[in-house]
Amino acid sequence: MIRRFLLCALFAAAAVPAWAQTMSYADAISQLAAACKNDIARYCKGVPLGPRLKTCFDANGARMSPKCQQTRSAVYASISRRAAAQRNIGDVCSADIARLCDTSHADAHLVECLVSVSPAALSQQCGQTFNDTGWRTERARQ
């Protein structure tokens, strides 16, 4: 019983470890396409990519291949986590930006500000949210 609980907990943690980077939307959704192509053709034929595809996964998940089930949990978790971070970064990091970048509000230089300071200087929540936006790595690639 305890063993099963631990196993489940491990599984849940593996889906979205708190420290993990989120994937780019392109990487996330192409992992889904690769792992679930056959299951989509079989159980979700004609279902558009969008909210209805997730509903179809939720309804038919148990019948789908283990690989697809595992991948789609991780993929949807990553996508919604990145989207939430990109939506909320201004609010989450407003105090950090005011403290570190000599500006009273999160303006257009938000990304430059957060990239320029040492990650250790950011509050834990702001640092994590900024990582989740994917903008740190995006900026590094440019």
Binding site: S24, A26, A33, P48, G50, P51, S80, S94, L110
Partner: protein, 223 residues
């Protein structure tokens, strides 16, 4: 729709007044390169897409989606025929930052194939790039000439809407910055080969700044 716009906070939340000279600094040369890459059947990645969309002139597109849809219907009405006798053009759009990608749909359907999921994800990555914050975009669908012209307008409209819908959910793009338009076969890319696959495509166009941000962080439709 309006309430959606209000509810959907843009990424920077508070006080984002993007400096316009920064937005317009990206060279149009890159745009040209990216479009050429798409023409060469090679899909562009999200960074190239974002750069293409950011290489923008200082203007806002003086053409609405509704006007474009009307122009398509007028073109079919005024110039009937199996194939469009003359292509529909929008000179205003030529200077706008844009790119073209190919998206695979099921036959005669607006369902995006898994083989093109990555392309939609890349568009989402590009539209979330901080350099494009607050800008509005047209998602324009084009078909080849197989099928009636009127039918193709509806098909391409549904396909453009399918892409818009996926960008909004699950990828979290602000619904207020996206408008879907179907052009049918009225703008064939290769009129000499009207049934060729190169005609089936999706065009993403930056229509200019849509949302502005006040000093205290409030978001409003730019005047």
């Amino acid at each position: 729709m309006r309430s959606d716009i209000q509810r959907h906070r843009l990424a920077y939340g508070k006080g984002t007044a993007m400096k316009s000279h920064r937005c317009h600094a990206v060279a149009a040369v890159v745009l040209l390169g990216a479009v050429t890459a798409a023409l060469g059947q090679q899909q562009i990645n999200s960074s190239q897409m974002a750069t293409s969309l950011a290489g923008v002139s200082n203007t806002r597109l003086s053409l609405t989606g509704a006007q474009m849809r009307q122009a398509v219907l007028d073109n079919i009405h005024n110039y009937p025929g199996t194939l469009p006798p003359r292509p529909l053009t929008f000179p205003q759009m030529e200077n706008m930052a844009q790119f073209v990608v190919e998206v695979d749909f099921d036959f005669n359907s607006a369902v995006i194939r898994p083989s093109s999921y990555r392309t939609i994800g890349s568009i989402a990555d590009a539209l979330h790039n901080p350099i494009l914050l607050g800008y509005g975009f047209l998602v324009i669908g084009h078909t080849d000439s197989v099928g009636g012209r009127q039918y193709n307008v509806g098909l391409s409209q549904r396909r453009a809407e399918a892409i818009r819908d996926a960008l909004i959910d699950p990828f979290g793009v602000n619904p207020g910055v996206l408008e879907a338009v179907g052009m049918g076969e009225e703008q064939l890319r290769d009129p000499a080969h009207p049934t060729s696959g190169v005609n089936r495509r999706v065009q993403l166009v930056n229509v200019g700044k849509k949302f502005c941000f006040g000093r205290s962080g409030e978001q409003f439709v730019c005047p």
